[in-house]
Point group: C2
Chain length 205, copies 2
DNA sequence: TAGATTGTTAATCGATTAACAATC
DNA sequence: TAGATTGTTAATCGATTAACAATC
């Protein structure tokens, strides 16, 4: 219904609204959200309008109503099971993350080739990749976090897709090749830092 | 010289080129890069052209030359010092990261309010935020990774900016308010997962 | 009523693609 | 030469903003 750039904005609005709510506010205006998110007020109204969210001509938007609609759009109403593959530095940090529940996400299992990782030290059971299909089927998982080393990322992602994964949050510094029906979001700290440096002008050309 | 959307593409090209180089290739064509990066061949040629990078009418682009130009653009020639603030799950993982050197980045210090964190267990010295100005001045730092808890993120970012930081890679789930001259890149695992789910259509509306 | 705000339609702007000329 | 590829200019497409009408 909405495209990638709109989705990103909707998520921004949601963060701002949650903050407003926490501050005790009941309603808000497009220009208040604009200030908070750096998105223009017209665009905000247009986005809401397109998502079928209506405000009051004079009284702005109801925060709870807005959050309710966004909740529907992003499916926070139904629980979503996810898995993580690779328990290195990043993987271990992410598996211990507590915030999944906030978004109604449920981390159900982790996977690592190293048998030494398959201990009770983690908040979820840790398996060998051999058990992947079983876990995916049991918990109806369609999204995975990929946090394996660079050299095995492509191969592992292929295996994930083969077993039914359709969304990958990729922490490996690799441009994954996946079939059309699979979506990859990359998180790359180095790349983000580089871009920051470029745009603040640390680098003189 | 180039804007945010172009920078992102250039970084993609760079990743693909590094891969090609590792495979032993010497030259490449816009359509090969297109296949690897999912950016159209025309756009790739246009980007290169705009950056003053020239190919050979018949013989494509020289990979080393291309990488050299990108290296200049992204300032990999000069070492860039960075710091990290907050040594929780994510912060600890990031400070142990080895890949900074690849991009000519140098993690010089970490900061945490908890004195217990100020041990030798980390690859860089860990200070109290009181020492921030000193470190920033000594190492000429302009970019910081922010990995503190949500509730202190805004306040900490203010303090960072006050002491000269102009680029923040923010891992806290907060829309930071910063002055115009400061750039923030957000990394938010929850948000990325949500968007993946939305776009692969896990959520039925 | 006057003023503030939403919501929509038309205009603008920027980014991408199509077409094609240049040339190795 | 013919074919492949780059590089540029014009056309298209999509996203954002401007203008304004609607209304509380």
């Amino acid at each position: 219904m909405v495209n990638l750039v709109q989705t990103k904005r909707l998520q921004k609005y949601r963060m701002a609204l949650l903050r407003f709510k926490k501050m005790g506010l009941k309603k808000t205006f497009s220009h208040s959200l604009s200030e908070e998110t750096s998105v223009s007020a017209v665009l905000i109204r247009k986005d809401f309008s397109q998502c079928g969210i209506r405000g009051k001509r004079r009284g702005g938007y109801d925060i709870d109503l807005l959050l309710g609609e966004l909740k529907k759009i992003f499916g926070h109403e139904k629980e979503q099971n996810i898995i993580i593959v690779g328990l290195g530095n990043i993987g271990s940090a992410l598996v211990k993350y507590e915030d999944y529940r906030q978004s109604n996400m449920n981390m159900v299992a982790a996977f690592d080739i190293d048998p030494a990782k398959r201990t009770r030290r983690y908040p979820v059971p840790v398996y060998s990749l051999e058990n992947l299909r079983e876990v995916i089927d049991t918990f109806d998982v369609s999204v995975a976090i990929l946090a394996v080393p660079e050299f095995s990322a492509q191969e592992t992602s292929r295996y994930l897709v083969e077993n039914g994964i359709r969304g990958i949050l990729n922490f490996a510094p690799v441009l994954l090749k996946v079939p059309d029906h699979v979506l990859v979001n990359n998180v790359n700290v180095m790349i983000e830092l580089e871009r920051l440096m470029y745009h603040i002008g640390v680098i003189q050309d």
